[in-house]
Symmetry: C2
Subunit: 450 residues, 2 copies
């Protein structure tokens, strides 16, 4: 098979799909090559029953993610608020405490410690330019240390430190020692502050898709029609003069005047490029690992915790489920608790296998919600580091030195190769909104040379 198009796009996640739309709106032909037998990338829905969806992948939208809300509206993808009524639980040091609102009852000193740390982080984050974090006035010292080192130096209470560890796991799917302070600050700025990133109501976990977040990608692909080719993993990209050619694992070739690579950096680095990529770009992709996360769902006949006045939201220091949400469908037709294994926990539980994960997850849920949680009708989980075409979620993080030494190569086109994907976004990097931004930006860059 050999085909031609104005533009070839690698990856039918939101970034690639949005780029294709933008190009086609300008009258350009775009062809998307997708490795999987489905579209959506890190968005993946699963039907529990007819019209009852859960998201095994990304699932939330929140305030200031204007691009994502606009796209959802445009496509007619219906949203509903994440359930937040009732009291939340904090489980720390072997004890569960109920609390109303967003501030757990963990003592005055820890709260002051945590609050002061957040205020500092938010203030420092403002000094990180979103389009060039390496130009922050203090970029070098901030990129020379891990976020963990900053926590160690800046915080005085065990509970406060635990709070930022939880923040790291929840937001980066990585431990605070895996990325630099500069990356933490960039990301905080990119998402509009620590609270905006962390919160459900008023934050990045505010709204869900009635038909699953993947419906966004499915609707986009539906509108594009035939130009999305599934089951076509691109293996090689050849540039000659004013032409680019992508070859898939099956040997099919696709020739275009430009190519947009819309997959995570670590996977983009695994393609074969001829001529080879410049050193800075190649060494960048060696340095941007994906986080580690397993999403765990326990499905009950009804959301029984609501009857106890609980929101279902839990933060905890108990292994391996540090974070739990009420993830029941919008009509409350059944009750679903969604627990996250992230960072170190995800790595341990990934190797342990499904049965061990089920046991460990349910043991946590019992500690949080009582014996009633022990017998779900269904337990299901999804390990994103085991997905060949993602190899980790939610996204890439930047270890110390990556931003200052190689950040300039993140979006820099290489001849007729352009880079998209949420990791290349300036606002809401790592989120659906960032993926949209990146697809629009890459399409714009391509249009300038077509």
């Amino acid at each position: 098979m050999a085909r031609e198009a104005d533009v070839v796009i690698v990856g039918a996640g939101v970034a690639g799909l949005v780029a294709a739309h933008a190009l086609m709106q300008q009258g350009k032909g775009a062809l998307i090559l997708e490795a999987r037998e489905r579209v959506g990338g890190r968005l993946l829905r699963h039907a529990l029953a007819p019209n009852c969806w859960i998201d095994l992948g990304g699932q939330w939208l929140g305030p200031t993610q204007e691009r994502a809300y606009a796209l959802a509206k445009l496509l007619g993808a219906e949203l509903f608020p994440t359930y937040t009524d009732g009291e939340s639980l904090v489980y720390f040091g072997g004890q569960a405490r109920r609390y109303a609102g967003t501030i757990p009852k963990l003592g005055l000193m820890p709260l002051l410690d945590f609050g002061s740390a957040i205020a500092k982080l938010d203030k420092m984050a403002q000094q990180v330019p979103l389009d060039a974090p390496w130009r922050a006035p203090l970029a070098e010292p901030w990129d020379s240390m891990t976020f963990a080192s900053w926590i160690e130096q800046s915080m005085r209470t065990r509970v406060g430190r635990w709070g930022l560890k939880l923040f790291s796991e929840a937001v980066f799917a990585a431990e605070p020692f895996e990325f630099s302070l500069l990356h933490a600050l960039f990301y905080i700025h990119s998402g509009g502050g620590v609270e905006r990133l962390s919160n459900t109501r008023g934050g990045a976990q505010q709204d869900r898709f009635v038909e699953g977040a993947q419906s966004l990608a499915l609707k986009l692909a539906e509108q594009l029609g035939e130009p999305v080719l599934l089951g076509q993993p691109v293996r090689q990209i050849i540039q000659r003069d004013d032409r680019v050619q992508a070859t898939t694992q099956s040997g099919a070739t696709f020739t275009a005047r430009a190519i947009i690579v819309a997959v995570p950096p670590t996977l983009a680095g695994r393609l074969e490029y001829d001529p080879p990529l410049p050193p800075a770009r190649d060494q960048l992709t060696q340095r941007l690992p994906n986080g580690s996360v397993i999403k765990c769902f326990a499905v009950y006949d009804r959301p029984f915790w609501r009857e106890q006045g609980l929101s279902g939201f839990v933060t905890s220091d108990l292994e391996p489920l540090h974070l739990v949400f009420d993830n029941s469908p919008h009509d409350g037709s059944c009750g679903i608790l969604l627990g996250f294994m992230e960072g170190a926990s995800a790595r341990q539980m990934s190797a342990a296998g499904l049965e061990a994960r089920r046991t460990a997850a349910l043991q946590c849920l019992v500690r949080y919600f009582g014996e009633r949680a022990a017998q779900p009708e269904l337990y299901i989980d999804h390990d994103w580091s085991a997905e060949t075409w993602s190899r980790g979620c939610y996204g890439a993080h930047f270890p110390p030195g990556a931003w200052t030494q190689f950040g300039h190569a993140l979006r820099q086109p290489v001849g007729r190769i352009f880079w998209a994907g949420t990791e290349t976004a300036t606002r809401w990097m790592g989120y659906i909104d960032g993926a949209i931004e990146s697809g629009e930006r890459a399409a714009k860059e391509v249009l300038e040379i077509l």
Copy 2:
């Protein structure tokens, strides 16, 4: 083309070649698939004149590298000592100072500061188990911070800090903020201490190969004969039942009962595996970037600095050549200064191009050795991050978290896939000696299942 062997080996660097030898000595058939049109991997010699070699890649042996010395002896590869007669130079703060011996004259306080830091590092390094750094009693805190953070916290003088920055660049081809304290300590233990790693006489830079270090690989390959296939980049590894199949870019297939992957982790991670690798192994390879180094050679009619009583050895804070050696051939038939651009300098100068590098390198050499250095008969350099089948040198480094979260997957075989290469060594990781250890160890593992 389709062939069979007992064992297929990916990569004809020293590790792969040694593994093949070890297997063939036990009567097993081994076939090496090498991407390049040459053997040697990160060892690469270049003929300046007939029988006058320089090493564009790895070049030194030193005490306690018993495996490397034994192999050199076995193969009849002749060695000679790196030139160290005369006084060395330290160029710091715009001023060059001569000194005899190994301790530059930089004031008492800086020397005490540096000496005390080295003593601490050597002592801490002893607590890192070479086969399992993540089991060090303080593995977690040490892997949570960068080496730069430790330097910042532990040292009091600017000169002392500069000394350890230079150590990082010279030994890791990376800046101190790019790897964890735990990795620094592991590596120091692996190489027998800071001084052993740093020194010329009595250290890792002590001896050179008369015919270039690559001669070791060439002689190994010669003895193996036909089983090394050049120009065969492996693209895919398929495991089924008790068989493993490697497919090269040209579509040739090679079937075996086991396979040894003897390439750097970041390149091993780019192969396609079917079934896919376990998450821990895949995520490990996302986290082990190669360092950045450009070796620069200025060739003169004779080693004129020797006439001024200079050894040719320079340490400096002047960009971009922080480190210079007399690298003249053993017969002194011409004079060669070898300068290293490492870490941040290598990245800047890689993008700057050959002419800019030549200018910058010679400007440094003039500052160190006077105007006589301005006009070499030849300038030549080699940027290892531009080499498609290395993508950086000297080797991989472990950023914070990599050892403690993923180190266990470094040598762990995956079914019939075994891992070699100097990054998998316990002693002298990153060196020729480590490559030999890794090849021997992988062959032994394979023999146990054949």
